[in-house]
């Protein structure tokens, strides 16, 4: 059976892989949007935090024998703590000045992280084994889908929707959203805004680390895995607009699917299709598809 001359196996297979990638885009752009929303900082280090999460998983298994399921919880906590430290020592100096400095600082942090891990682990990549429970594959007829990748899609979408629910539908989320709009007023109501900000950055970092752990069995764990990804995530965020949480999730998944589709028909363009879409969206709707700002 063929669609536009491509066998349906190839078509659906690439689409499914695209869905997996899209889940990662969604998770990371979500974290980025949350951090930008509350801190006003474009966190270039987000990719590095994702990378560190993956390495925490690797080292935990390799040196301490801590298995995947524990590290799914452990890594976000470790990296989240790191995020809190970063916020308290470095980021808090930057809130009152031009936002480009936030971008530049986190860029510097990303370089530091990359350099250190490169020094320790080299560039060529570490393997992380698929956890036993999720090993093996299911023959779907049109392709053999490794069970682990199905888990990645389910887990990440659950986390994304959970975060959305937390922010949009709970009291805590309300404080967060209010703190974005008017920190002074929220502080006057007795909410400790600086602590909230600190924990938000930590949570964003934890989210990135979680994505890293999920990614570990799928791709090579290398120090560069974050920086290559973060630029695409930036484009996703510009396309979706940073106002809406749900918007980030939908945009991330959609772009993953589009990328997969491109791989079927025109593989050479798959690395640039996200950027091309970004250019088009900017021409038509500069604020982004779900953006609120003018």
């Amino acid at each position: 059976m063929e669609i536009f001359g491509i066998p349906i196996q190839a078509f659906l297979g690439q689409l499914l892989l695209g869905l997996v990638n899209g889940s990662f885009y969604a998770m990371l752009s979500l974290g980025l949007a949350v951090i930008f929303g509350l801190l006003g900082i474009v966190n270039f280090a987000h990719g590095a935090l994702y990378m560190i999460g993956a390495y925490v998983a690797f080292v935990a298994l390799d040196s301490f024998g801590i298995n995947y399921w524990f590290v799914l919880v452990l890594a976000p906590i470790v990296v989240g703590a790191l995020g809190v430290v970063i916020e308290r020592t470095l980021l808090k100096h930057l809130y009152k000045i031009d936002p480009i400095y936030g971008l530049l600082l986190t860029f510097g942090l990303a370089l530091i992280a990359e350099g250190m891990f490169r020094e320790k682990f080299g560039v060529s990549g570490q393997q992380y084994p698929v956890p036993e429970l999720l090993q093996g594959a299911t023959n779907l007829g049109f392709m053999v889908l490794p069970n682990y990748r199905a888990w990645v899609v389910v887990a990440s979408l659950t986390v994304c929707l959970g975060t959305w629910f937390l922010i949009e539908r709970t009291r805590l989320g309300a404080y967060l959203r209010a703190g974005t709009e008017n920190p002074a007023l929220v502080q006057a109501f007795g909410i400790n805004v600086p602590v909230m900000v600190m924990l938000t950055y930590g949570a964003g970092a934890g989210l990135a680390a979680l994505a890293g752990v999920l990614a570990a069995p799928v791709i090579q764990i290398t120090p560069l895995m974050g920086s290559n990804l973060i630029i695409v995530v930036f484009a996703v965020v510009v396309i979706g607009g940073m106002g809406s949480i749900l918007g980030s999730i939908i945009t991330g998944v959609a772009l993953g699917l589009i990328e997969g589709l491109t791989k079927v028909f025109y593989p050479e363009a798959s690395s640039i299709v996200v950027f091309v879409i970004m250019a088009i969206v900017l021409m038509i709707r500069p604020a982004g598809l779900f953006g609120k700002e003018a």
């Binding site: 690439q14 490169r118 060529s124 990549g125 594959a137 053999v144 799928v218 593989p267």
Partner: protein, 402 residues
């Protein structure tokens, strides 16, 4: 009141002085060998720092000096970037009095360094890189290609796989000089042997995820998946192919594999695979003896590239000793008229196009049961003697060999 701009001008001067390694030095009293390879990336295991160790072993075997002149080796990491390799080579030739350059892995960097060496008129012995272009359309009077090349790999593995029934091929190719050349050379051989090329897909060097490329390969329905890549890329392609069940419908042909890759993947995953190589540590008593010494230093058995590094350095130094000079033209002339008889090659010689001609081996990976000790991974299936493995005069486009 100190002038802000004067101070900044001074800062400029200091920064410039920081950036340059003193004045140009003349190589008068030292014989300097340079070694530029991938030290930390996907090829670091098959050559890398252990290759530098092999060169140091050669220097030690020469006694550390020739006619009172000390022998030194400079080592650099090109990080798989052609510009870094070329810039470092140029700097060493210009400011460090480099006498000879040994080229490590990555064909793109080798081609770049070959140009620099030709411009500076100094010998460039390529050991790690594969592209046959080095002695073909890009040959120079100063390039010597020591260990192996893509033509030999194609002739060896390509023919063997087609003969054993693998007629239709799909290539998974590393997207740079080496992968393209290997795919090219192998396609020629496969077609000449009566096979067909169904299609190909290129992957970025050091790719992190092979899944989408493998899906494309699988939908081609070819019998053989030819892996025109090396090092970490080959290891990951094979692992991913297993994960996606590709190995159930296609057979894998690793067109360039080294003993380190087999060690990493394990015999279970690789048994029965054919590969072509220039040397094997367990080939004969000489090789074994040297390899045990290497093992003591590095805790791994040497790959053919590392043995090649040793051999290239040793033969160069012997030529320097024989001519009593480090003049590039004299030494190269000496090397070209001397046979190579060491732990790496027996009866080897350097052709007009710069190719070091020696025997190549088609090897098959042993089953776990057949392997008697760690690193005992290969059995020799066929030996290609002398000229038969390489590009022939009729096929060659090298202007120096007509």
């Amino acid at each position: 009141m100190k002038l802000s701009k004067i101070s900044s001008a001074c800062a400029l001067a200091v920064a410039s002085l920081l950036g340059t390694s003193a004045q140009a030095q003349i190589s008068g009293d030292v014989i300097r060998i340079g070694f530029i390879t991938d030290m930390s990336g996907l090829y670091a295991d098959i050559d890398g720092p252990a290759g530098a160790e092999a060169i140091k072993m050669a220097i030690a075997d020469m006694g550390g000096a020739i006619n009172g002149k000390k022998i030194e080796v400079l080592v650099a990491d090109h990080q798989n970037k052609a510009d870094v390799a070329a810039a470092k080579a140029r700097e060493w030739f210009d400011t460090q009095g480099l006498d000879m350059l040994i080229g490590g892995t990555n064909s793109g960097t080798a081609l770049a360094m070959a140009k620099v060496a030709a411009e500076k008129k100094k010998p460039f012995l390529v050991v790690g890189a594969a592209t046959s272009a080095l002695t073909n359309d890009q040959c120079t009077p100063y390039t010597v290609h020591w260990a192996y090349d893509t033509v030999a790999l194609a002739k060896g593995t390509g023919n063997a796989v087609v003969k054993s029934g693998g007629k239709s091929w799909y290539f998974l190719t590393a997207d740079y000089a080496f992968g393209a050349q290997l795919q090219n050379d192998t396609s020629t051989i496969v077609k000449a042997a009566g096979g067909t090329i169904v299609g190909s897909v290129k992957h970025p060097l050091s790719a992190s995820d092979f899944s989408s490329f493998l899906l494309q390969a699988q939908s081609s329905k070819a019998q053989i998946l030819g892996l025109a890549n090396a090092g970490g890329d080959t290891i990951n392609s094979i692992k991913a192919a297993n994960e996606f069940g590709i190995t159930k419908t296609m057979k894998l042909a690793g067109l360039l594999m080294f003993i380190n890759d087999i060690h990493s993947l394990g015999l279970k995953a690789t048994q029965g695979m054919y590969l072509t190589d220039s040397w094997y540590w367990n080939r004969d008593a000489d090789a074994r003896g040297w390899s045990r010494k290497f093992f003591e230093k590095v805790k791994r058995m040497p790959s053919s590239i590392q043995a090649g590094d040793y051999s290239a350095a040793l033969n160069y130094l012997n030529a320097v000793k024989a001519t009593g000079s480090d003049d590039a033209d004299k030494v190269l002339a000496q090397m070209k008229k001397t046979k190579i008889n060491d732990i790496f090659a027996k009866g080897g010689y350097i052709r007009e196009d710069g190719r070091m001609v020696h025997d190549m081996y088609l090897m098959q990976v042993k089953t776990p049961a057949e392997s008697t000790e760690p690193w005992d991974y290969y059995k020799v299936a066929e030996t290609f003697k002398g000229d038969s493995a390489w590009t022939s005069k009729a096929e060659s486009k090298c202007a120096l060999w007509k």
